[in-house]
C-alpha cells in the first residue's frame, strides 16, 4: 500500500529573480517522488501562505537571495500561525549568513540550507522531517 504523496510548495519570496536554486531543488524533489508546486517568482508571504493552504501542502521550501530573509521568512511563519497552519514544515535556503540561522530557526523555520548544500542532503532532510499533515511524524 502506498502512503499519500507528500506535497511541497517551493516558493520565491522577495523581489530577487535568482531562481536557479529554487528550480533545481524543485526538480530534485519531484524526481525524488514528492509532489512539487513551484510558485514562480516575486511572491509575497501572503501569496505563499495562501498557495500552501490551497494546495494542502505538507511543507514549504523558501528560496531567497535578496538579503530580505530576516523580514520575509518570519513573516511567512507568522501568517501560518495566524491561519492555524503552522504544522506545515518550512525550510529555506539562499544567501543566508551563518549568524542569521539561529534567529530564523527561533522564528519557526525548521532548517536552512546554505550555498553548496547538495541535493542529496536536501532531499534526505525532507524525507526524514516531512510527513503528510495530520499523520504523526
Amino acid at each position: 500500500m502506498s502512503s499519500p504523496r507528500i506535497r511541497i510548495v517551493v516558493a520565491k519570496p522577495g523581489l530577487d529573480g535568482h531562481d536557479r536554486g529554487a528550480k533545481v531543488v524543485a526538480r530534485a524533489l519531484r524526481d525524488a517522488g514528492f509532489e512539487v508546486i513551484y510558485t514562480g517568482l516575486h511572491q509575497t508571504p501572503e501569496m505563499i501562505v495562501n498557495a500552501a493552504i490551497q494546495e494542502d501542502a505538507d511543507a514549504i521550501g523558501l528560496s531567497i537571495l535578496s538579503g530580505a530573509h530576516m523580514t520575509l521568512f518570519p513573516r511567512v511563519m507568522e501568517l501560518l500561525r495566524e491561519r492555524g497552519a503552522d504544522d506545515i514544515v518550512v525550510f529555506g535556503g539562499g544567501i543566508i549568513p551563518e549568524e542569521d540561522i539561529a534567529a530564523l530557526k527561533a522564528s519557526g523555520i525548521s532548517e536552512i540550507f546554505t550555498p553548496g548544500a547538495s541535493l542529496e542532503t536536501i532531499v534526505g532532510w525532507v524525507r526524514e522531517h516531512v510527513r503528510p499533515r495530520g499523520v504523526a511524524a
Binding site: G14, L15, D16, R20, G40, T71, I95, P97, T114, G116
Partner: protein, 533 residues
C-alpha cells in the same frame, strides 16, 4: 578509457569534448587571414584594438551599491581613491522592479542588494562630488533604465555637467531579464518599445552613453552553458539592432554604442574561446546580416564579471584564487572592462577589505604578470583556435534555431531559452552530485570546521531613512507639475511619441520611480512569468 589517462572522457565545463592533443590538422579549415585577422582587424577574433593592452589597460570597474545613496557614494569615492577607473552602480531590488522604497513590496529589501534610488534627490546624493565628465558610470538597471538614465542626466545637468559630457552605460537588456535575471515590469513587446525610445534619445542627446549593455552574465549564472550564454546574448543583440532599425535609426548611428557583458567562468580555455568566438560572430552578424558599414559597428566591446556562481561558501578564501584565474582568462580573452568578485559574496555584499582585494587582483594581473604586453597571446594555439571554432559553431546553431522560432522575443514568449537554461543547470547540478565535476571544498577536499569570515551588514535604519527622504520629496514638490508631467508621459506611452523626453520632465518635477513606472503598468499591464521547472 585510453591507456594512462585518468578518465575515459574529457570535457570542458560546458560539456564540449577535449582531445588529448591539438595539432595543425584541427585547424585545417581555418584561414588565418579571414577567420582571425590581426588585432584591430575584421573579424576581430584577436581583439578589437591593434595595440590591445599596450595602448590602454582595461577599465577596472567594480560593481558596488548598498544601503543608502550616501553609503554608496562613500564607497565610490573610496574605490576611485584606490585606483578604480570607472563606476558601476548596483541597485536594490525595489529599484530594479520599479517600486519606491515605501511600497509594501519593498519591505525588508531596501538597500539590501544594492543602493536604493527612488527619486532625483537620491540620485543627486549618489553622484555627489563625482567628476562626471572624467569618469564613466555603468548602471545595472533594466526595466526602469529609462527612468534612471533620465535621473542621471538631470542630476548631472543640475551639477553642471551637460549631456554631451556624460559617458556611461545603462544595462537596459530586458530580453535577458525575461530569460534569466527576472526583474521586470511590463511584458516583452512593450519593453522593446521603451528601449527603442531610449536608443533614439541616447543617439540624439547623450552621444557618449551606451544605452544597452547586452548581457550574457545573468544567463550564464542562471545555469546556461558557455555556448548558450554566447548564443542567447548575441540573439538578444540581433533583436536590439533590429529594434533600432525599426525605430528609424541608421544602423551605424547606434550600433557602435552597443556594448556587451559576459560572465567569465572557471573553465579557463573555454572562456577565452568564448570571447574570441563572440567577436568573430558579432562582426559577421553586423556586417553581413545588418549591412553595417562603420567598422565600429562590427567591433564587439565587452565588460566581464568573474563568475559569482563559481564561488563557494565553504573555504571562502579559495574564492580569491578562483576569481584571479577567471580574471586572467577575461584578460587573455581581450575584455575592455572587468569586475572581479569578492571572496565573501556567497554570504553578503562585500566588505570594504574584500572589495579592495578583488581590485588588487586585477592590478596584479595588469601590472605584474606581463600578460598585457602583447595582443591575444593565445592566438594560434591549436587548442584555443579549435575551441574558438567549436564555440562559434555551437552558438551559430542556437542562433539559427532562435531565428526559426521568429526571433528572440518570440522565443522568450515560447519559453525556449528559459527551458534550455533550466535543463542545463539541473544537468550540471547532477554532475556535481555524482562528483563528475569537482568543486574544491564542496564535494572534494572538504574541511570539517571552518572559521567564519567578516561580512557586511546593512544598517536596518536605511529603509526608514529612505522612506523619510521620499516623504520629504513628496511634501516639497509642486504636485500639479507632477500630475501634469505624468499625464503627458501617459499620453506619449499610449501614442507614438518618444517617451524619454516626457520621462525627463517627470524626473525634473520630482515624480518618483514608482509613480513613473505606474504609468507603464497602467498602460501595458505587468508581466507574469509562466513558472517553468
Amino acid at each position: 578509457m585510453a591507456e594512462g589517462e585518468r578518465r575515459d572522457r574529457f570535457t570542458t565545463l560546458s560539456g564540449i569534448p577535449v582531445n588529448r592533443l591539438y595539432t595543425p590538422d584541427d585547424l585545417a579549415g581555418t584561414d588565418a587571414r579571414t577567420d582571425l585577422g590581426g588585432p584591430g582587424d575584421y573579424p576581430y577574433t584577436r581583439g578589437i584594438h591593434g595595440t590591445m593592452y599596450r595602448g590602454r589597460l582595461w577599465t577596472m570597474r567594480q560593481f558596488a551599491g548598498f544601503g543608502s545613496p550616501e553609503d554608496t557614494n562613500r564607497r565610490f569615492h573610496y574605490l576611485l581613491e584606490h585606483g578604480q577607473t570607472g563606476l558601476s552602480v548596483a541597485f536594490d531590488m525595489p529599484t530594479l522592479m520599479g517600486y519606491d522604497a515605501d511600497h509594501p513590496r519593498a519591505l525588508g529589501e531596501v538597500g539590501r542588494e544594492g543602493v536604493a534610488v527612488s527619486s532625483l534627490a537620491d540620485m543627486a546624493v549618489l553622484l555627489r562630488g563625482l567628476p562626471l565628465d572624467r569618469i564613466t558610470t555603468s548602471m545595472t538597471i533594466n526595466a526602469p533604465a529609462n527612468i534612471l538614465l533620465a535621473m542621471y542626466v538631470v542630476a548631472a545637468e543640475e551639477a553642471g555637467f551637460p549631456r554631451p559630457a556624460l559617458g556611461g552605460t545603462t544595462q537596459t537588456d530586458m530580453l535577458k531579464e525575461f530569460i534569466a535575471q527576472k526583474e521586470w515590469i511590463v511584458p516583452p513587446r512593450p519593453s522593446m518599445r521603451l528601449i527603442q525610445d531610449m536608443l533614439v534619445f541616447g543617439t540624439r542627446e547623450v552621444p557618449r552613453w551606451n544605452v544597452i549593455s547586452i548581457s550574457g552574465y545573468h544567463i550564464r549564472e542562471a545555469g546556461a552553458t558557455a555556448p548558450q550564454e554566447l548564443a542567447f546574448t548575441l540573439a538578444d543583440g540581433i533583436a536590439y539592432v533590429q529594434a533600432g532599425i525599426d525605430a528609424g535609426l541608421d544602423v551605424d548611428a547606434f550600433a557602435p554604442r552597443l556594448s556587451f557583458f559576459f560572465d567569465c567562468h572557471v573553465d579557463f580555455f573555454e572562456e577565452i574561446a568564448k570571447f574570441r568566438a563572440a567577436r568573430r560572430l558579432w562582426a559577421r552578424i553586423m556586417r553581413d546580416r545588418f549591412g553595417a558599414k562603420d567598422p565600429r559597428s562590427w567591433r564587439l566591446r565587452f565588460h566581464t564579471q568573474t563568475a559569482g556562481v563559481s564561488l563557494t561558501a565553504q573555504q571562502p578564501m579559495n574564492n580569491v584564487v578562483r576569481t584571479a584565474l577567471q580574471a586572467l582568462a577575461a584578460v587573455l580573452g581581450g575584455t575592455q572592462s572587468l569586475h572581479t568578485n569578492s571572496m565573501d559574496e556567497t554570504y553578503a555584499l562585500p566588505t570594504e577589505d574584500a572589495a579592495r582585494l578583488a581590485l588588487r587582483t586585477q592590478q596584479i594581473i595588469a601590472y605584474e604578470t606581463g600578460v598585457t604586453e602583447t595582443a591575444d597571446p593565445l592566438g594560434g594555439s591549436y587548442f584555443v583556435e579549435s575551441l574558438t571554432n567549436t564555440m562559434e559553431a555551437a552558438a551559430a546553431g542556437y542562433i539559427a534555431r532562435i531565428d526559426d522560432l521568429g526571433g528572440m522575443v518570440r522565443a522568450i514568449e515560447l519559453g525556449y531559452p528559459q527551458r534550455e537554461i533550466a535543463e542545463a543547470s539541473y544537468a550540471y547540478q547532477q554532475q556535481l552530485e555524482r562528483r563528475e565535476k569537482v568543486v574544491v571544498g564542496v564535494n572534494e577536499f572538504v574541511t570539517p570546521e571552518e572559521r567564519p569570515i567578516p561580512i557586511l551588514r546593512i544598517d536596518p535604519q536605511v529603509e526608514r531613512r529612505q522612506i523619510e527622504r521620499l516623504r520629504d520629496v513628496r511634501a516639497k514638490r509642486d504636485a500639479r507639475a507632477v500630475a501634469q508631467t505624468l499625464a503627458a508621459l501617459r499620453s506619449a506611452t499610449e501614442g507614438d511619441e518618444n517617451t524619454m523626453d516626457r520621462i525627463v520632465e517627470c524626473v525634473r518635477a520630482h515624480a518618483t520611480l514608482g509613480e513613473i513606472c505606474d504609468v507603464f503598468r497602467a498602460v501595458y499591464g505587468e508581466y507574469r512569468e509562466p513558472a517553468i521547472i
